[in-house]
Subunit: 429 residues, 2 copies
């Protein structure tokens, strides 16, 4: 039995409390598996007096979170504060700079500063681990970094935001519209009071940029992710997609294009025979396509204190075992700056929904715009009354360059026939 | 850049060839990820002259496979010969005894001798890795050993044999019977000429016993796995299950029961809302239920040269990186001898199918046997003409102890009313 791995914990919110409960509940098992105990020695959070339902009196309390990085008794700092900059980043820099291990669930910080932190970890031979940052409890960082390490990855994609998937599956199951379901999700605690990071796709984009770096050996390039959210998806879109044999999911996709790395988060139509179509509620799932392994799927709880704590402690067990290395699967200097792919070159099928005025000639106008942009139509469905008094026209295109669809929408911009903005969703191929 | 990891490869069948092709195809990427090249230096197989479609002239040829264990240039031996004993076991013992790393896809050998080999690896501080032994390319050994390591696992289960799943999904899709589909699978190379290890559940049981040891911290106990195969599943059973909202899958289940470790491979009815119901063809999938992470699903190709080679080389990358440790997730002396659970105590629902003579009183006889054994019937369907001229009766039970169902079948044993053996399938709960 080796000496204990001593942990300083920054942040005592829902996940921080989960980590303490997990280490209490599974103490003996973790000691057997890690070959040594894992013990929290110090904690820090904003409010010392708040009741978190766990006994904190066993741990040293540190008022200044940044001081955890130099706490004399700690081998590893666990950061569960959040935020891409500020105290979390300061803590990361100082802990790694001091050669301490650093475990975090902070996807925003990694998306923005992951390369710098990986370099710093390598300079001081410190562990930098972040399984909990992507897809909650699912060991997908490990799955890509190690499990699929023998493969050239053609594409990595998945359902990376539990809030969006919860909302979309509930809209689907109950035929209700977005705003109503979002309010309910907020009341239940499944969505934040300010939900924009989740529903506008930013959270999923943070995670995607981390997965892409590991999968493709590129520097994290969050700024290059094209981001769209689920705010404008109607119950009618979901019903229309269902009648065509699809479910609507917010999918993040990263792939190596001919001219660079393509990264996008966007609502997609997922065919019913694809496993992602069957991922409901706040579950997450990630698919990696390797040149030898084929399609690998990792699925599980994408958020919540238990699953996220499971991932944090898995990282600590790796560190306790001494089984860790380059954070992004290869040394930071091996990561290549990725060129941003031109999505116009990308070929695919798309779903387009227009709400239009009920008057003569509108259909002809839309059809002409498609024709003039070179978009080939596979099916077109016109439906009577849409929610806002107009008529709904849903189009599924044949496979073609994305540029053509964008051009068709550009031609229709400002048309007096349209009521509101059209909705574009890509079809997962 | 470190020195190359030098590999001696035993066995040049489909997987061995795949390993060579993979290391050729992804050489640069693997070097970046592993931090050093991975190079085959010596190979051994039965027939030196056979054309395997890869250039072997680069490697030293060793006639005596056992001599690979002491090859002066090799750091690691990869064993792809197969067989629970014989040359594979000799090679494992001598390689590990000499302190060489050992990577294998040999589930039968691990199920029978895994504990001894893990002990030997620890004595000499050698790596012993076997990701390819379970579920082909899916990193499920890693998922349990590391990804879910923070959790007490309540249950691990899954589709572990691609041949059976291929046959069952084909029977389902085409409404055809077992023997016919098996012949076709054999012609296509999806089933062996002697298919009994696959279709009778032995292969899945080997894999299950390895997963159970890692999940529960117990010594591998293959002899305690209750094994049933898919040979007696009829197209009519699959159709009946479908009409009730289920698909038939061969599922291996291991769980901690009140009185010991329960391990069973058996055809199951899987409800349509469970991810395993959507696993078709030769795909494998494994679910682990952890006390903090909840339900984790790992899915992918369960066999084939590419996926299996992917898992073998992932193990080599772990070794090249120096990221490995106790094979069964904890040191061998920590693994507890598992008591075999009494399955009679286990509660569940079951599907029972009888083929009976079309005469008065048969239904009453079956119903009485159920009543007398204390089996509560949820639904009973009697269908006209069965394949062999009898009448088919399908029963779904309410949840109850498995002992009661076994007793009911015992009461009916030898009944003149039955045509052939009844079929029992458990319902995945």
């Amino acid at each position: 039995m080796g000496d204990a791995l001593r942990v300083a914990l920054a942040g005592l919110g829902t996940v921080g409390g989960g980590v303490i409960r997990l280490l209490d509940a599974n103490r003996d098992l973790i000691t057997r598996r890690a070959g040594r105990p894992i013990e929290i020695v110090a904690v820090s959070a904003r409010d010392r007096t708040k009741d978190r339902g766990v006994d904190l009196s066993r741990f040293a309390w540190v008022d200044d979170t940044a001081a955890l990085a130099s706490h004399p008794d700690a081998d590893v700092v666990v950061e569960l504060i959040g935020g891409s900059d500020g105290p979390a980043l300061t803590l990361a820099r100082t802990a790694l700079g001091a050669g301490r291990g650093f475990v975090t669930a902070n996807k925003a910080m990694l998306a923005h500063h992951g390369l710098e932190l990986a370099q710093k970890a390598e300079e001081t031979n410190a562990a930098l681990k972040f399984e909990a940052a992507v897809a909650g409890g699912i060991p997908v960082i490990k799955g890509l970094r190690e499990g699929a390490a023998a493969n050239a990855i053609a594409r990595v994609y998945g359902i990376l935001n539990g809030t969006c998937n919860f909302i979309l599956s509930k809209m689907e199951a109950e035929g209700r519209d977005f705003a109503e379901v979002l309010s309910e999700a907020q009341a239940l605690g499944y969505a934040e009071a300010d939900p924009s990071f989740d529903i506008d796709g930013v959270d999923a984009a943070h995670k995607l940029s981390i997965l892409a770096a590991i999968a493709f050996g590129t520097q994290p390039a969050f700024a290059d992710v094209a981001i769209g959210g689920v705010r404008h998806v109607l119950a009618a879109d979901i019903a229309q997609a269902a009648s065509l044999g699809y479910r609507v999911r917010l999918v993040g996709v990263a792939e190596e294009g001919a001219n660079g790395l393509f990264q996008r988060v966007h609502p997609h139509l997922v065919p019913l025979d694809h496993p992602l179509a069957h991922v409901t509620g706040s579950t997450n799932a990630v698919v990696a396509e390797g040149n030898f392994v084929g399609r690998l799927l990792f699925q599980g709880a994408g958020a919540g204190d238990g699953p996220t704590a499971s991932a944090v402690v898995a990282d600590l067990i790796d560190i306790a075992r001494g089984e860790y290395g380059a954070s992004f699967a290869m040394p930071a200097h091996e990561l290549i700056p990725a060129a941003k792919a031109d999505s116009g070159e990308r070929r695919g099928r798309a779903y387009l929904r227009f709400t239009v005025q009920d008057k003569v000639g509108v259909l002809a106008e839309i059809a002409a715009a498609m024709r003039d942009a070179g978009v080939s139509i596979e099916s077109l469905i016109q439906r009577g009354e849409a929610a806002d008094g107009g008529v709904m026209i849903a189009i599924v295109t044949h496979e073609g360059p994305e540029r053509a669809v964008a051009q068709a929408l550009e031609r229709l911009r400002g048309s007096q026939s349209l009521v509101g903005q059209p909705l574009l969703m890509h079809i997962l191929g």
